[in-house]
């Protein structure tokens, strides 16, 4: 990791500004942020700017990229691959984001309760968390999606249900650290309710590692969705990147670009998210900032 020379300027006092200044000096993280912004912009505006439709047959199958006027070629049914990638980016990003939200909601609630109340409640909640760590994540969500229907909300829920344990562990350990701090004792002594203590007093201080973890969660949720749809466990009425790979997989002997290109899209997106997550970690982690 590169050393960043950070000197606090007098006008940058707010912690968010401070973190942003730290983040801005991290080239890898900034590159990730720019790539990610481009992908998000592409997902929002791409379908309006590019005329191709993802489910429409437009040409002979397996036309190589650029040969017949299709920038990324056509898939095994002669559909425009670029159109599929553009439309697929929406589903991929939406599922990644919303699954990360589900993950954080479950993880933070359980971790906060465990770290706040201690004793029997903590014991029970941590046993519950360990139980979910033992479940083989992909198999379990495959079963949920296959049995309860492959709709986007169900896929999101299935991913969220199996991925929250890391967030819960992090939140709990942060709460265990924070609950002993003087300012928490002070507001406890002045009669703050448990709810207020947990979510208004303690949670803001526990946020930095949670934010980093949630950023990385978006990336792993995208990989997770890709895995599920690669296996065919996806809504057949929508295109996602993993689903393009899954449906073209049998034909890699004839042409491999229909598989490698959408995979590259997933890879670049998740890579950008990981770079941003690493940058956030450096910018928000107070231990590193003191160095």
């Amino acid at each position: 990791m590169k050393k960043t020379n950070f000197t606090p300027t007098p006008e940058a006092r707010s912690p968010i500004l401070e973190a942003w200044q730290m983040f801005r000096q991290n080239y890898a993280a900034m590159a990730g942020l720019i790539i990610l912004s481009l992908i998000v912009l592409g997902a929002i505006f791409g379908p309006y700017l590019y005329p191709g439709q993802p489910f429409e047959m437009v040409w002979a199958p397996f036309s190589r990229p650029g040969v017949d006027g299709f920038i990324l070629g056509t898939d095994y049914l002669g559909r425009d691959l670029l159109a599929q990638i553009i439309h697929g980016s929406r589903v991929t990003l939406i599922i990644g984001l919303s699954a990360a939200v589900v993950t954080v909601l479950i993880g933070v609630s359980i971790g906060a309760l465990a770290g706040f109340y201690r004793g029997a409640i903590e014991e029970a909640l941590m046993r519950f968390t360990e139980f979910f760590q033992v479940l083989p994540t992909l198999l379990f969500s495959m079963v949920i999606v296959a049995l309860f229907g492959a709709s986007l909300p169900m896929i999101t829920l299935a991913i969220g249900l199996v991925s929250w344990t890391a967030v819960a562990r992090i939140t709990r350990s942060e709460f265990l650290r924070i609950r002993e701090l003087e300012y928490v004792m002070a507001s406890r002594a002045s009669g703050a309710s448990s709810m207020k203590l947990m979510f208004k007093v303690m949670l803001p201080n526990a946020l930095p590692p949670i934010i980093v973890q949630s950023a990385l969660m978006v990336g792993s949720a995208i990989l997770f969705e890709a895995g599920l749809s690669f296996l065919g466990l996806t809504d057949p009425n929508v295109t996602s990147w993993g689903q393009i790979i899954g449906s073209n997989r049998q034909y890699i002997l004839e042409s491999s670009f229909t598989v490698t290109i959408p995979g590259l899209a997933i890879f670049i997106t998740v890579l950008a998210i990981s770079l941003v997550g690493d940058g956030l970690n450096d910018a928000l982690n107070p231990k590193l900032r003191q160095r």
Binding site: V134, L135, P136, L139, L147, L231, G263, S274
Partner: protein, 325 residues
């Protein structure tokens, strides 16, 4: 002996976890929309109401939920996981047939990932700004971000289709005739690409963590003392520092077991590896509930055993936690 007491509590706890997994899975499948009797009837080519009722009675599907759950649990405790509708054979036999392939894949990948990850981490920690260190950082990012099935397909295209070094699919070549060693060699050749694919994610994780902990350890006081005593570089790094840097990696590896099993499902699908992953995939598509339940049970068992092994590895490496519960 403290170690036996620890072992006993662990075993009791693991059994409780497994039972909880069983209850959850069974409940989940029971809650799912759709009728199992319908699925069975479908595989017979359809049936009228009378035969449907007969099927329900045969499989105990007309019983109340709690009775069904109780019956299932007591059968599982006798190592009977039921009868597969789809494969028309006992689920236990079916799984035991496929289990060795998955165990081979999962444990080889995990073992390889730990060794390579730690070695890469140590090398790059010794020269944090060297070329090797940058390579490890880059490789770690790749391993994090690439979908494992895509990595597998890339390796398949590269090393089985373009350069034909390794077989495309499966675990054995049926045309291979010969002694034990010929077959061993054959399985090994089939194993290379799936193991490399699966371990790539975890090499990334372990190398990054061991790089970080090793850098911390190398700057600690006791390492400086060892150096100033005049111990050789090798002895300081690999005998003194490594032992301490190893325990976080082992802890992480334990937490990753369920991810390894998940990754194995995808890798097995890509390489048509005849393990539990491909069986899971087929039985989920066929809605073969006894098989699905059996696989969920066995994979949880695998994760729990992996965790127990990790725990013991940790105790071997780190004397500080040997006495603790």
């Amino acid at each position: 002996m403290a170690i036996f007491r620890v072992l006993a509590t662990r075993l009791v706890y693991a059994t409780a976890l497994l039972l909880a997994v069983l209850v959850l899975n069974f409940t989940l499948i029971h809650l799912a929309p759709g009728d199992v009797a319908d699925t069975i009837a479908q595989s017979m080519g359809g049936a009228d109401a009378e035969i449907l009722a007969q099927i329900r009675a045969d499989y105990g599907l007309d019983q109340p939920f709690l009775l069904q759950l109780g019956a299932y649990m007591s059968r599982v405790l006798q190592f009977d996981l039921g009868y597969s509708y789809f494969y028309a054979m006992p689920v236990t036999d079916l799984i035991l047939q496929r289990l060795p392939a998955t165990l081979l894949l999962v444990f080889t990948a995990q073992f390889l990932a730990m060794i390579i990850g730690v070695v890469l981490g140590v090398i790059s920690a010794r020269r944090p700004n060297g070329a090797m260190s940058h390579f490890v950082t880059f490789f770690a990012l790749f391993g994090y971000s690439a979908p494992v099935f895509w990595t597998g397909i890339l390796l398949l295209i590269g090393f089985s289709l373009k350069i034909q070094w390794f077989p495309v699919a499966g675990m054995r070549d049926v045309t291979v005739i010969g002694g034990v060693w010929t077959h061993f060699w054959d399985v090994l050749r089939h194993l290379v690409l799936p193991v490399v694919t699966l371990s790539s994610i975890f090499i990334a994780l372990y190398s990054r963590l061991s790089r970080a902990t090793m850098m911390e350890t190398l700057s600690s006081d006791y390492v400086r003392t060892a150096k100033s005593k005049g111990l050789s570089q090798y002895s300081v790094v690999y005998k003194h520092a490594l032992k301490n840097a190893l325990s976080p990696v082992i802890t992480l590896a334990g937490l990753q077991f369920s991810a390894v099993v998940s990754g194995a499902v995808l890798v097995e699908t890509v390489f048509a590896w005849p393990g539990l992953g491909t069986l899971a995939f087929q039985s989920i598509i066929a809605r073969d509930t006894p098989t699905i339940l059996g696989i969920l049970f066995f994979s949880a068992l695998m994760v729990i055993i992996g965790n127990l092994l990790t725990d013991f590895a940790l105790r071997l490496v780190d004397p500080r936690i040997r006495g603790k519960q």
